[in-house]
Each structure stands twice: as structure tokens, then as C-alpha cells.
């Protein structure tokens, strides 16, 4: 297997290394020396030794198989590192162990001091130290990130490190190794994203970083560096009722400028939350003051559901999502348009929303109750438009849907995958997007992407469509095909090359083109969809399947601008030759075989596809065979007839004989007349 693949045009995948555990031929990953405190949800950290210069101030992140990461952020930070941050320096796909699977490995600048969590666990960090040592470094890092449109999404005490044991300044930890906020405890997340599943929290906006910073500073300032003792639901309820600052500080007053800072950063209203601008002003000793308002989410009258009273829309939405079947029953009991207008007086409940939410009095009689779940998902989206999408146990933000799907696929739970299928396929997601389109700024950015994904999925249909959506929404996700489980393939170019290598050892090509492989091609190569659809359609007919496979691979080689694929070409030729056994015309078979032999070693799949359209060929062959059969049948009838003995008694023979006799008679008569005439003369 050729390991060192040089990157081609359009292939932004990391380079590959040949020696196991050795990156770039220089950095050895010390698997015996794990750095557990630097692990991320999608990667394990290990020490690294530089074979040229001894111990390196780097650590390696070995990404888990089947996980996703922020590939764009990784590439951006390798290309242009950011000050006051632990930047990745290089990444490569290598075998970490001899004979083991391939992994993406990233080398990251190692922290040179303790983490903020370690120091805060010993004693609370004063407001002065926050101002002088911690905030400036973080502001510097965030300014660099946000100016490039990158949101860190992983700010917490464990990911902020002092520059040295002397505690002089801090740097931010890496933020690319897992989906945004995947490793964050819920209370470091802004209220609207805290209830989403960990992988589904989404990229969010820079304001989410400011909130996480506020929560981090508060935890360090109060010396609380453990998870809050309250259960997450109770804490969430407290955050909604009292605001995140009061819920997090558990009523402890933080006086002075530090208190102003923390209130500003922990403001639950994104529009009112402090930004880097206010933070810089605060560092310069001016005290910006932003008002905290939190009235938008209150019902005009309390709502009683399951014998509990709710005055906050978000809280009721959360409760609905916890008890969807009861909620569906509740919603069908009330006159929903009137009820919602009476309860939410600050917004107009338009006819468009009424049509989109579509609460029908008739109950859902299906066994799975998908209709009820979809109804509750639509209503919760209306009640809490900034909150996560909640559908039948799945809770994810709109911009975190892709990584959430990865999390669900990694669990390998058919039931949850079925729920995802319904989310895309039964018009649930499009309806929710339409309901919150005007009220959630993230949706307007994501709407086109999700609409494209939904369309793609509807066209490809079923589980295959779901896989297309999975790869479409997770551009850095490697191909999860069981046939390629040892490889780390994230681009169609790599995938086609890998198929070219693997096919050499495989007896058949079709099993390698499984749903994952096809979905990856379908979602990541523009124009591949019709070829994939044809292949799926003809899976039961060997000749048609082979034609479809040839056409797909030819299209991909041409589209991806790849060089000769000799193994695939030879394998296609071999398979096509085997199928040519059914071709009945010997001269045609000879001609095609000769042509295939010529093309086999060239590795040019489009030429093979052009030369042999097996399906058309077989159709033509069959038609001509029928014609030949008819001709032979006619010939055989005629030959039988010609070979039959002719008897004088047969009408034809008799007639011919009588005609001959008649002719002879008239000849004799004429001779007689001539003789008589001459005699008379």
C-alpha cells in the first residue's frame, strides 16, 4: 500500500506519514506517556519527542476514529498562529501503532505552565489578578480568533494555561480537536445552547466565547472549579429564573469592577452581553455599564402543565421536550392559536406561523407517534426560537446538527438514527427552520445549507439519504465505511485513491462501494448524485450495476482530476470481461475484449466507460441475437424443404413435367407443319 500520497489539486487533506508513530519523520508520539488533562472528547493527548532536537515543547493529539473535528480552524491556525494561544503546528494522517488503524494526528504547542483550574482549585483568584494576569492574554487570543471569524467555543478553566510556573500571563488552549463546545460543561454554555447535546452545541457567535469567559472567570474568582452541585435541570431553571450570573454565583455577591465584568459577560441576553470592546474598556479602567433585561421570555399568564406552573417560555419548551406525548395531548386540548396569542402578547402569532405549526385536534394514531413528536418540536421551536431544536429526545442547535449526527452515529443506536431520518425526511426540520427563521440569527446563515441537505436527502432517500446528510454537514468527517475502517479518509480524492489501492486485494469491487462510500461521493463531489442513484437502482442486475460503477468511477476520476488509476482500471476490465461472457456475438466479444485489454493498463476510467456501455451492448446483443435466431430458423426450414425428396406425383413436378410435355408437343407439331409445308412446296 502506497502511504506517501502527495496532495493533489483540490485535496486539502493532511499529508500522510510512512513510519508508525512517527510524524514528519521527526516527531515520535510517546504512547506510553499520555497527557490525560489535555485530552479532548475526540482526541487523546500524548507527549512528543523531537528526534532531532530532543524533548519537544509540543504534544500530540491523536484523533479518534469516527470522530469529527474543526478542520477549517486547524488549517487556519497552522497557517497563521495566534498570539496567546496554543496553536497547532502540523497535522498528518499516520499509523500510531504498527498494524493499527490510521489516525489524524495534530501536533500542538504544549502548555508551559499549570492550568487555571489547577491554580483556582488551590485558592480563589482575586479580581486584581484576573485583571492583570488572565484577562489580557485571553482578550489578545480572542481578538485574534474573532477577527478571523473563529469562535473558540472551548473556554473553561481547564483550557487556559499559565505561560510559566511563575504564573505570568496566560494562553488559551486548542479549540479544533472536537466539534464546538463538545467538551464544555453545560453551565459554560450560553443559556440558549446549554440544553443541546454536547456535540450539537454549534459554532455559535463570538458572544458565546464571552459567556464562557465570564463563567470561567467567575468560577476562578469564587474558587469553584468543580461542576456545580445542583443538578443540570435545576441549574438551568435557576439560570432562566434569576439569570446566569446569579445562578452560577449561587447568590454570592461579587462587588466592584470584577462584579461589573462578570455581570456583563454572563448576561443571558446576547445583545446586551459584553463584547471584546467592553472588555478592553474594562481593562483600561473605564467601566462600561450594560443593562440586563430579561422580559422577552415571560408569559402573560403562568401556564400550568403537568401540575407545574411555568412563567418562562423557554422553561415550558424544555418541559414539553421532556414529556412530548403529554405535551402533544396538552396542545391538542387547547385552541392553540388563541392560547399562544393570549400567553405571548409581545409577539404577533401570524397566520403563517399558525400554518407552519399546524396543531390539529386529531391525535396521532401511529405506533411511533412521530406526528406528536414533530408537533411538539414545532411548538418548542416557536416558544424558544433561540434554543436548541428538540425532537423526540434529540436536542441540538441548528448549527450543531452535523456534529450531533456524528455523535448519534457513533452510538450506533438504530432508534436514534431512525429519529434523525424522520427529522430530515418528514418535513420536521424544514418546518422548524421556517418557524424560527426570522427570530434566530443563526438560522438565516444555516438555512440554505440545511435546505440543501434536506433536498439531497429527499432525493437519495432512506438510510442512504441520512448518510448523505451526515457527510454533507460534516466536511471533516472521515469515511466510516467498514471496508475502510483502518484508513482516515476525508476527501473524495483520498477515497478514490484508497479504492484504487484496496481493490487490488479484493475479489470484487461492488462491495467496496457501500453506502458510506457512495454517500461521501454523493455529498462531497458536485454532480455525482445521478451516478450514485443509478448505481443504487441497479444493484440487483450485475450488468447494469457494472455499467453504473464504471460510469461513476469514470466521472469521479475526471471530476477530481486524478491521474491513472491502474488497479481500478484493471479490476473494472476484469469484471467487465467476466460479464462479457453473456455477450453472444463472438466477433463483438473479440473486438471488445481486445479493446479492454488495450485500456486495462492505461488506468483511464473515462476511456473504459466510453468504450464499453455494457448495458447498451447487452441490449444490442440480445436484439441482434433474436434477429439471428429468426434468420437461422427460416434457413433451417428452407434447408429441410430443399433436402426433401421430390416425387413426380407432387403438383409442382407434375405441372413442370406437363408444361415440358406441352412444349415438346407444340415443337413436334411445328416440325410437322414445316415438313408438310416443305413437302407441298
Amino acid at each position: 500500500m502506497a502511504d506517501a500520497d502527495s496532495p493533489k489539486k483540490g485535496d486539502k487533506s493532511p499529508p500522510r506519514s510512512v513510519v508508525p508513530g512517527l510524524l514528519n519523520g521527526r516527531y515520535r508520539i510517546e504512547l506510553a506517556k499520555p497527557l490525560v488533562h489535555l485530552n479532548s472528547p475526540c482526541a487523546d493527548a500524548y507527549e512528543v519527542t523531537d528526534l532531532k532536537e530532543g524533548p519537544a515543547e509540543l504534544y500530540a493529539l491523536v484523533h479518534h476514529q469516527g470522530s469529527t473535528h474543526r478542520g477549517d480552524v486547524l488549517a487556519e491556525l497552522i497557517e497563521a498562529p495566534i498570539i496567546s494561544m496554543l496553536n497547532p503546528v502540523r497535522s498528518s494522517v499516520i499509523r500510531v501503532k504498527e498494524g493499527g488503524p490510521r489516525h489524524l494526528v495534530s501536533l500542538v504547542q504544549a502548555p508551559t505552565g499549570p492550568s487555571l483550574a489547577e491554580i483556582a482549585a488551590q485558592h480563589p483568584i482575586s479580581g486584581h489578578k484576573l485583571r492583570k494576569l488572565i484577562v489580557p492574554g485571553i482578550v489578545q487570543a480572542l481578538a485574534g480568533l474573532h477577527s478571523r471569524g473563529i469562535v473558540h467555543r472551548s473556554i473553561r478553566p481547564e483550557t487556559i494555561f499559565f505561560k510559566s510556573p511563575a504564573l505570568d500571563g496566560v494562553v488559551l488552549g486548542e479549540c479544533f480537536s472536537c466539534p464546538p463546545a463538545a467538551g464544555q460543561p453545560a453551565h459554560f454554555e450560553p443559556l440558549e445552547r446549554a440544553l443541546a447535546m454536547p456535540f450539537g452545541r454549534g459554532e455559535a457567535t463570538p458572544e458565546a466565547d464571552m459567556f464562557a469567559l465570564g463563567a470561567t472567570l467567575l468560577a476562578c474568582h469564587l474558587g469553584v472549579n468543580k461542576k456545580p452541585a445542583k443538578d443540570p435541570n435545576a441549574l438551568h431553571a435557576a439560570r432562566m429564573a434569576q439569570g446566569s450570573f446569579w445562578a452560577h454565583s449561587a447568590g454570592t455577591e461579587v462587588p466592584g469592577v470584577t462584579g461589573t465584568l462578570l455581570r456583563g459577560l454572563l448576561n443571558d441576553d446576547e445583545g446586551e452581553r459584553w463584547t471584546l470592546k467592553e472588555l478592553n474598556l474594562w481593562l483600561e479602567s473605564s467601566v462600561p455599564n450594560r443593562r440586563s433585561v430579561n422580559v422577552l421570555w415571560t408569559f402573560a399568564r403562568p401556564v400550568i402543565f403537568r401540575q407545574a406552573t411555568f412563567s418562562d417560555r423557554r422553561m415550558l419548551a424544555h418541559e414539553f421536550s421532556q414529556h412530548p406525548l403529554d405535551a402533544a395531548h396538552f396542545l391538542r386540548q387547547v385552541d392553540f392559536p388563541s392560547w399562544v396569542q393570549n400567553m405571548i402578547t409581545t409577539e404577533l402569532f401570524s397566520e403563517r406561523l399558525e400554518r407552519l405549526i399546524n396543531v390539529k385536534k386529531d391525535g396521532d394514531l401511529s405506533s411511533e407517534r412521530h406526528g406528536d413528536h414533530a408537533l411538539v418540536a414545532r411548538v418548542t421551536a416557536h416558544l424558544d426560537p433561540l434554543g436548541p431544536l428538540r425532537y423526540n429526545g434529540i436536542s441540538t442547535t441548528i448549527d450543531g446538527l452535523g456534529p450531533a449526527m456524528v455523535e448519534i452515529f457513533n452510538k450506533d443506536d438504530d432508534m436514534e438514527q431512525d429519529i434523525l431520518l424522520h427529522l430530515f425526511d418528514s418535513n420536521v426540520l424544514p418546518a422548524i427552520l421556517d418557524i424560527i427563521l426570522d427570530r434566530n440569527p443563526v438560522v438565516s446563515k444555516q438555512h440554505q445549507l440545511h435546505s440543501h441537505t434536506v433536498q439531497l436527502m429527499r432525493r437519495t432517500k432512506g438510510p442512504m439519504g441520512l448518510l448523505c446528510a451526515l457527510y454533507d454537514l460534516n466536511p471533516t468527517l472521515q469515511c466510516l465505511s467498514p471496508a475502510l475502517k483502518d484508513l482516515w479518509i476525508t476527501s473524495p480524492q483520498q477515497l478514490l485513491k484508497a479504492l484504487d489501492r484496496i481493490v487490488d486485494k479484493s475479489s470484487e469491487l461492488s462491495p467496496l462501494l457501500d453506502d458510506h462510500v457512495l454517500a461521501m461521493f454523493c455529498s462531497r463531489v458536485e454532480g455525482a448524485e445521478p451516478f450514485v442513484e443509478a448505481l443504487i437502482k441497479h444493484r440487483k442486475s450485475p450488468a447494469r450495476l457494472m455499467t453504473a460503477v464504471t460510469k461513476l468511477l469514470a466521472f469521479l476520476q475526471q471530476k477530481l482530476d486524478l491521474g491513472p488509476l491502474k488497479n481500478l482500471s484493471n479490476h473494472l476490465v476484469k469484471s467487465l470481461k467476466a460479464l462479457l461472457g453473456d455477450v453472444k456475438s463472438r466477433s463483438r466479444k473479440r473486438t471488445i475484449m481486445a479493446r479492454l485489454d488495450e485500456l486495462g493498463d492505461l488506468g483511464n476510467l473515462p476511456d473504459i466507460a466510453r468504450a464499453i456501455d455494457l448495458e447498451h451492448l447487452k441490449y444490442l446483443d440480445h436484439q441482434e441475437f433474436l434477429e439471428a435466431q429468426r434468420k437461422v430458423s427460416v434457413l433451417e426450414q428452407m434447408i429441410r424443404k430443399m433436402r426433401r425428396p421430390v416425387h413426380p406425383s407432387e403438383p409442382n413436378a407434375r405441372l413442370a413435367g406437363f408444361r415440358a410435355a406441352s412444349a415438346m408437343g407444340w415443337l413436334v407439331l411445328m416440325v410437322t407443319m414445316i415438313v408438310l409445308t416443305m413437302g407441298a412446296g
Binding site: 456475438s585 437461422v632 433451417e636 428452407m638
Partner: protein
């Protein structure tokens, strides 16, 4: 029709000659009235030609000697004349018997030549498309289920 017209005309112009023709062409009249085969007209034509070839010299002789009943009676009484007239008819009958046999033989020869050419065409098709294209090869397969049913 022409023959009938000639005979009718002769009945008025030279009745003895017409009588000789009627007597001499008796074998032809037998076929005319008795034969019911599909090829009657061809056979009649052949018989008429041969028969007339035997009768015609006596009709000419009578014309030259003057068409009288005395001459007619002389010819009718001549055994040689009857032998010639009926012999010609007999020769016609023999030719009518032999010719179909000869025609069948010739046809068989021509058919075998044609069959050889058709066989070449069939072999070329079988060479191109395989034995399956021939009904002769397919037939045993098609008969198999029936045989097993028995």
C-alpha cells in the same frame, strides 16, 4: 376456342376434313371431357399438339386431293393412317407420363445445390452466435420438461 372455331368453320367449308379432324383427335377429346385434374389445360395442350401432329398430314393430303367423303372413307379405312394418328397421341401420352418424373429429378438436383448454399449461411450464423441460435439445438432442451412429466 380457336380450335373449336377452326373446326366449326371447316364443318361448313370442308365437312370431310372436319370429320377427319374429329375422328383423328378423338384421344384429345377424351382428355377434354374426362380429365378433371388441376393440370388439365396443360395436359390437354400437350395431347392436342401431339395428336394434331399425327392428324395434320392426312388433313393436308385430303385438302390437296379435294375434300370428299370418298377420300375420307379411304383414309378412315387405312390402318396406317390410324396407326400414325393414334400413335402420335400415344407418344403424347408417353411424354406426359415421363416428363413429371424427369422434372422431379431435375428439381431435386437443383434443390440440393440451393440447400448447400443455405447451409453455408446457417453455419456462418451459428459460428457468430453459437449453437444456441439454432432451433435444432434448442429443441431438445425445450422438450426436456415434457419428457420428465411423462
Amino acid at each position: 376456342m380457336l380450335v373449336y372455331a377452326v373446326l366449326a368453320t371447316m364443318l361448313f367449308v370442308a365437312p370431310p376434313i372436319a370429320a377427319l379432324a374429329i375422328l383423328g383427335l378423338m384421344p384429345t377429346f377424351v382428355i377434354l371431357f374426362v380429365d378433371i385434374a388441376p393440370e388439365k389445360s396443360t395436359r390437354l395442350s400437350a395431347m392436342f399438339a401431339f395428336n394434331l401432329a399425327g392428324v395434320l398430314p392426312y388433313m393436308v393430303q385430303m385438302w390437296e386431293q379435294g375434300p370428299s367423303f370418298a377420300n375420307l372413307m379411304r383414309i378412315v379405312g387405312d390402318v396406317m393412317a390410324w396407326t400414325v394418328m393414334l400413335g402420335a397421341a400415344g407418344a403424347g401420352a408417353a411424354v406426359l407420363w415421363v416428363c413429371p418424373v424427369l422434372a422431379a429429378g431435375i428439381q431435386q438436383y437443383l434443390n440440393s445445390d440451393r440447400a448447400y448454399k443455405l447451409e453455408k449461411q446457417r453455419e456462418a450464423l451459428i459460428k457468430e452466435w453459437g449453437e444456441g441460435v439454432s432451433s435444432a439445438r434448442r429443441a431438445p432442451k425445450e422438450q426436456k420438461p415434457a419428457a420428465s412429466a411423462q
